[in-house]
């Protein structure tokens, strides 16, 4: 319900951010905590719509009007309960979700959306601070053993729910620590490691087991894993990067975004110097998406001499086009916190070649392109040459690394190279399930969590017969 006239009386106010100069010096979170009074007002802007599009827009189906109302009333614990009903990890989504809920908030139709994501984070932080986040009681143990392979958001989502539903869950992680993309794919300034650790600790106390450094497919093999578990959940993400197929790709100074981010994140975690650093380099990030943006912010923090982000597609419009109406996800120009911090953005440029000097990357040659009836057309006379020391390839991902899976278990992939599942997340091999990016391609963390949760329900139903 909020306050009926809340949205008229109060403007949207996004959380304050630390000053650029300050935040560039460290890897700490950018947004500052919001005053409770302010949170209450922001939540009071919620109209408690008859048809809450936000609730539809949220992949998790978060009961957004319900928790907004509770925050407005200062009933934080109620808000927490409403939020945790649908969302196992609001402290993640409250930080790193692009917030489709806000895009579809009815206020966004002609005003500014409710700060749903900030409120979500506020509620989650309050819950941790107050000690409300305690291990939850699980259903009676079923005695069924479930292996979850991969500990990214999809794997964690499935593991969390399956455990609550009473199954014995082991999460296998190839890396040294669990978290998948959450740990090494997302910079600390967006999601501090401690937030992840805090959640992992809760999951462990609830009974989820983690086995890290285990590369399923090699040892154990998928077949072995399947033989020892009642269900295997494939949550291996979609980590195969899209390649840059131009001359010079082999030059030194060209790195993949995930390698770059992972190295940087490890360095932040250990305090050691990163394996790859942008310090004093002229950096080009190829790819205008979220990963590219994360690379940009990371490079700036490492002290790059310059950072240029190059996107193949032309610049999106500032406002929604007629064919992209509310409540659809708006295809508009977005400015991330990293963009605020510096760097240059180029749009509509297609890389034609990488030019090296002595095996080292020196420049990037590109040509301007434009869209002509959904086809990409080169603009004549628009060739450019950009000096570059470090080129980060952040052009997206094309699917999971599933060769072992298909080879050992015979799991079928779909046309796009993702693990093929039916409406209940079951792969072509009985007892094997797939969730998150592994089955749908690279997507949002929130989708992965939702997937994990929904899959858990389906798996539970199958296990219990």
């Amino acid at each position: 319900m909020g306050k009926p006239s809340g949205f008229i009386d109060w403007d949207r106010r996004a959380p304050e951010k630390r000053p650029k100069s300050e935040r560039l010096k460290d890897s700490r979170e950018i947004e500052l905590a919001v005053e409770p009074m302010e949170q209450s007002q922001q939540a009071g802007r919620c109209m408690d719509c008859g048809v809450p599009f936000c609730h539809q827009g949220c992949p998790l189906g978060n009961l957004i009007p319900d928790f907004n109302h509770a925050v407005y009333k200062g009933r934080w614990k109620d808000a927490w309960q409403a939020l945790s009903l649908t969302n196992d990890f609001p402290e993640f989504t409250g930080r790193i979700c692009p917030a489709p809920c806000e895009a579809s908030c009815v206020l966004a139709l002609n005003r500014d959306a409710v700060t749903i994501e900030a409120l979500e984070k506020g509620i989650a932080e309050r819950a941790f601070a107050e000690g409300w986040v305690q291990p939850r009681a699980t259903a009676a143990r079923s005695g069924k053993k479930v292996a979850v392979v991969g500990s990214g958001p999809g794997g964690l989502g499935a593991a969390s729910r399956l455990n609550l539903l009473g199954h014995d869950v082991t999460v296998f992680e190839r890396d040294d620590r669990p978290g998948g993309l959450l740990r090494y794919g997302i910079p600390d300034f967006k999601l501090e490691r401690q937030v992840l650790e805090r959640r992992l600790a809760v999951l462990e106390r609830e009974g989820v087991r983690f086995r890290c450094g285990v590369d399923v497919g090699r040892a154990p093999t998928w077949t072995e894993l399947k033989a020892t578990h009642d269900a295997v959940v494939v949550a291996i993400g979609s980590r195969r990067p899209r390649e840059l197929e131009v001359p010079g790709r082999e030059l030194q100074g060209v790195v993949r975004a995930l390698d770059y981010l992972e190295a940087s994140n490890r360095a932040v975690a250990t305090g050691e110097a990163p394996r790859v650093s942008a310090k004093n380099l002229q950096v080009v990030v190829l790819g205008g998406g979220d990963t590219g943006s994360d690379c940009l912010g990371t490079a700036l923090r490492q002290g790059a001499a310059s950072v240029t982000q190059v996107e193949l597609l032309p610049a999106p419009p500032r406002a929604r086009g007629a064919t992209n109406p509310w409540p659809e996800w708006p295809m508009v120009m977005r400015t991330s916190t990293s963009h605020e911090e510096g760097g240059t953005r180029l749009f509509g440029r297609k890389t034609t070649a990488l030019v090296g000097e002595g095996g080292r990357l020196a420049a990037l040659e590109s040509v301007g392109v434009r869209l002509d009836d959904a086809r990409m057309v080169e603009v004549t006379g628009s060739a450019q040459r950009l000096p570059v020391d470090l080129l980060i390839l952040a052009m997206g991902f094309v699917g999971p690394d599933a060769s072992a899976l298909t080879g050992q278990l015979g799991v079928t992939l779909d046309g796009r190279g993702n693990v093929k599942v039916d409406g209940r997340f079951a792969t072509s091999v009985p007892g094997v399930w797939a969730v998150g990016d592994a089955r749908k391609g690279a997507s949002l963390v929130v989708w992965a969590i939702a997937d994990g949760r929904d899959a858990a329900k389906a798996i539970d139903a199958a296990l219990r017969g």
Binding site: D48, C49, G50, P52, N110, A139, P325, P327, K457
Partner: protein, 1518 residues
Amino acid sequence: MSFPPRHGLYEPSTEHDACGTGFVAHLRGEKSRAIVEQALEVLHRMKHRGAAGADPETGDGAGILLQVPHRFFKREGQRLGLEMPRRRHYGVAQCFLPADEGARKACQSLLEAVVEEEGQRVLGWRDVPVDASAIGTVARTTLPVMRQLLIARRRVVPSAFERKLFVIRKVAENRIREKGLDPSGRFHVASCSAETIVYKGLLLPKQLVGFYPDLSDPDLVSAIAVVHSRFSTNTFPTWDLAQPFRYIAHNGEINTLQGNRNWMSSRRSLLQSAKFFGSLDRLQPFIVPGGSDSAQFDNMLELLVLGGRSLPHAMMMMIPEAWNVAQMDEQRRAFYRYSSSLMEPWDGPAAIVFTDGSLVGATLDRNGLRPARYVVTEDDRVILASESGVLDVPPAQVKKKGRLQPGRMFLVDTQEGRLLEDDEVKDEIARRWPYQKWLERNVSTFDELADVPAPPPLEGEALSRAQRAFGWTDEDLRLLLTPMADTGKEPVGSMGNDAPLAVLSDRAPSLFDYFHQLFAQVTNPPIDSLRESLVMSLGTSLGPDGNTFEETPEQCHQLTLPGPILTNAQLARVLGMKNQGLFEPRVLDTVYEPQGPHALERAVDRLCDLAVEAVDQGADVLVLSDRATGEKRAPMPALLALSAVHQRLVRDGIRRHTGLVMETAEAREVHHFAALIGYGAAAVNPWLALDSVQALSQSGLVQVDTETAEVNLVHAINEGLLKVMSKMGISTVQSYRGAQIFEAVGLSRALVDRHFAGTPSRVGGIGLDELDREAKERHARGFGVRRAAELDVPVVGGVYLWRREGERHAWNPGTLAALQDATRRDDARRFAEYEALADQESRELGTLRGLLDFELASRAPVPLTEVEPASVLAKRFATGAMSFGSISAEAHETLAIAMNRLGARSNSGEGGEEPRRFVPDENGDLRRSAIKQVASARFGVTCEYLVNADELQIKIAQGAKPGEGGQLPGHKVDDRIAKVRWSTPGVTLISPPPHHDIYSIEDLAQLIYDLQSVHPTARVSVKLVSEVGIGTIAAGVAKAGAGGVTVSGYEGGTGASPLSSIKHAGLPWELGLAEAQQVLVQNGLRDRVRLQVDGGLRTSRDVVTAALFGADEFGVATAALVSTGCVMLRKCHQNTCSTGIATQDPRLRKSFTGTPEQVVAFFLQLAEGVRRHLAALGYRSLDEAVGQVQRLVARTDVAHWKAKKIDLSGLLATPRGAEGTGLRCTTPQKKDVSDHLDHELIRRAAGPLSGGGPVTICLPVNNANRTVGAMLSGEVARRFGGTGLPDDSIRVQLRGTAGQGFGAFLAKGVTLELEGDANDSVGKGLSGGRLVLKPPVGARYAAEENVILGNVALYGATAGEAFFSGLAGERFAVRNSGATAVVEGVGDHGCEYMTGGVVVVLGPTGRNFAAGMSGGVAYVFDRQRKFKKLVNPEMVELESLVDESEIWLVYGLVESHLRHTNSALAKRILDNWEHLVGQFVKVMPTDFKRVLTARRATLRPPSARLAATGTTGGTDRG
């Protein structure tokens, strides 16, 4: 009885009556021909109150009741060779006999046999001569044979003879029915008495005398003659239902009939009387089912009278006045209180004339909603009738002119030769026995009971488990209980209901959800429970009932309850009575082990057995309780348990030995309580709701402390109950109890007949086993093995606000986004996507129509190009009625422009329209709404408004809240809205639940006449809401002369309405439309009315489905709004619509982005869809499709476990019409106004009408001249607009008694001066003209003591002046918003709902003065210092006249009154002004004063007061 049998959706039990009635009597009992002839004249003069059906010569019924004319029968007896006994030593049975000779003879000989059996002697038969040559065809085809059986008295005392005759009639009737001797259903005994005789038939009033030559016989004399002219919505009028009946002639409606009848049969074993010569069983049923409500009323009255009570006494029992009020005499109150334990009121609007042959009288119900005027003459005649002026009495002959007041009685004792006024009659009856003492000794009150601790409240997990197990959701707590506990009021919502019917819901809805509340429309008015609360009563008591025939102290041994809702502590006290000797309560658990097949069925049967056992063992209070619910025991649906027990006890005839209390966790919203009480509970203890609000309060979710929360909850429920009752026109909870005013949807006939017998249920469906499954499902939510997979299923509800995991809604993110996108871009592909989504919602168990398929096989498709174009089809569309006020000017005008561009119709709603919109824009766009609505508040309904329309729509009810008034919250009433509504900015506007000029079907006919007079070329339509019986009402509306009927479904939207009304009142349009179509076709009335449907049409599939069901036109509101940007915020009532549609906040209105193009796109796309469907069906035009219901078939692919049980055969029945009967409208009829007096006025006023100088016109007038001045005013408004003509341009001087609606909508420049008197609705909608009423020259009576005009004068007047030299009736100046009036006395509810204008009352007022008055000022000359007690102080303050300018204002008005009427009273007051001025009391609305004060601050200081009064009052004197 010869109604057609149940077919399709038609329910024979939905027949209604309404009529004109009256009597002429000689005060001293002198019999004469004159009395008979004058009564026939009265009848004739009320012919416009009756009706005819499709056959114009077949009336609905007319008749006359006389004293048995001895001289006549003596002569006739001699002629027939019969040996006639002395006067009163014989009785006459007026028999209607079957036309078939064999059947007739069988009936006759049976009658004779019964006479002999009862020890009386058959004298012989007399053929009643009839002349059927002039009667209608329908009447002739059903004509019975009329014969009189003369029965001589033998061996019984004269006083017992009437009873004997009654027994003879009852036994004969029963036996003829049992033996099937009368297959055609013609047999009927119109009267069987030694005192009175009835001549009646299926006739028009004018045909009566011609049909019965007896009535012209010089020997046929009487001192009493009661007449009646019938208007039945009743579509199948029959000979026997003509009136008068044996004791009464009734103008009105009994709303509680079902309950009254149930209670009577449930009393069976309690009824004992030695007076009826042996067992009463052979006389059963006392109340003959199948008769009209009036007929059944007569049955009951007869029984009471013959059982030993006097006629007035019996009337007081059946129609008690509002007695639970402080002003009432204590002894009389005790009488009523005592009587209430013997019999529940027969509640409903009623004017009843009654007679036993020596007493003749009349009474009105407590609301006084029917008119009754009387004249006493110098030569001792008493003439009473529904109208004044029905008999010409020279002024000098008039001794007194009066009217019956609400709840009052008027009696003529022809034996004593006296006229008895109300108090005298009633006090005598009330003092016959020491009722007060009897009550004191036998009635226990709650305070006498010992305090017993209540069970401790549930908390924490136990509480939430219980909530889940009883099917509660988060919404129940958040949206229902919390606001009720916080504010003591029912929560309000907006927009419509778009969730599935309960039988289509997969979320185990409560059994309550299968029941829909019914409501009053047209044939009887809803009551205003808010503003006229003095008639409402929640008083209830517990314990066994008495023997209705007896009057002894023990009969009232009962426990008075504090109300129908018991708190836990109160219930504990009731239970604490156990073994105390006073009452014996017994608790029966309504829980069962949810195991095995048919578990619920077995459990319910067992429960019923236990109940019978308990009653047999002497339990006189049964408490049905589901407190024992637990892990192993599931609760039965509370309504099922309650109704099953109630009906079982009724069937066993022992229901009256015990009171029923329901202790249930299930009840949590008003609808639940209404249903439980409506199915027989005396009281309900909602223990879990009470525990829950305690918990809410303790946790701080509810702001008030636990005690207040509990009080608030009970208060909110009580208020809600009053509203539900009043919707149906029922005033007391006592008569609502067991009245079963609900319709079930989707329950199997077997289940309904077994446990809810008497409830209409036209869409069959699930039975006990399905209910069992749902009960188990709910139980498992709380107590089931907590299945892991359910962990994250929040019980979100989603019933009111859409939620992904909640109940389904037709309007959801998918459909809303798709429609907006499609119309914004006018994209056909996207529109098709929208339709696919919406139709899919429908098919996936959203609506009844979703269960249907088009039958495509029987006709080949036609090429799309051959189907009529979209631009033609679009003309059939209308937008739903949305007022300017509920939505913004931007939105309102966008719709109007779009519809005008399409040649379709937008609907103004009830909020007036700014005159600037009557002129086209420069680009040719017209912002005028083609349909102008006339609703109960008459906001902005001026003459100018009416003439600027193509269609005038009388809104009887609204889909989202049928039976309730609308409400526009003060924050939406800005300056502009206030101006167009003639009200005060910032003041909340409330529309009364009823139209105060429509209390019956003949009143509706009158309003149609009024509107047609103002605008003779407009189509007048009537908007109804779907419910059982809508067919008969639609037929009545057609007979009343309307050219269109709109059937609204319950899915329709609203700007503000209680949530329980949105969800639970009314029915889907499919049912209403199909029933209306079926009944109209069956009556041959269909081709004269355009049938429009609205309330949830969303797609072209919906439109075509509706067409096949029989709709000619289609109203779409919500979808049209969505196409302009509405996203279903459901915030209309809060004025915070962020899309700028349903708001008046200028900051938000800026956000409105809708365009006429979007709306045009929507309707054209919709029409294109219709074309595609038509092509597939093989039709080239929509006309071909209308009414082709056989092209709709029930889907065969429905697999859903509940939906597949649904039986749609009634819905899909093909109407049985006569050969060649139209299935669609060919030419919409116009009300015949050719007889209008104004034709003459217009002719004579040609001068001023064409710009010439003033004229004065003199004419006589009589009561058949109705709505005088309205047609003339329409002309004025059409030619000169709202400003009209200069004062007195057309001066009309009339003499006589004017018919109803005198001076309606009178335009400025027209003056009507009437010497004589007038009937109801004088000056309704007065639009600037002047009205003067004064007694005729030569009158001897004092004007100020006699009634000169009827009820509801100046209803909805917006401007003008009125001077009435005499007394006015009830509801004087109701909803006046600008007229200035002076009158010499008014009845109850004066100045009700007034929002502007000035009223000066120079004499007495009735009760409830100024109820709901939010603007304007009244000045009351309070000579007797009584006024303070009569004012409803809720919204007004009383002040004395001190301000100099104000004193001069009043003085000036009294002076004008004197000048215009020559009033003696005015003269006296002016002569003694200095002494008397202090006796004037000023009635000032509190809100109005606040606003005026605030404005005054911004105005120039001097003369501000008058200026302010002037602007809002609109008077032209200033």
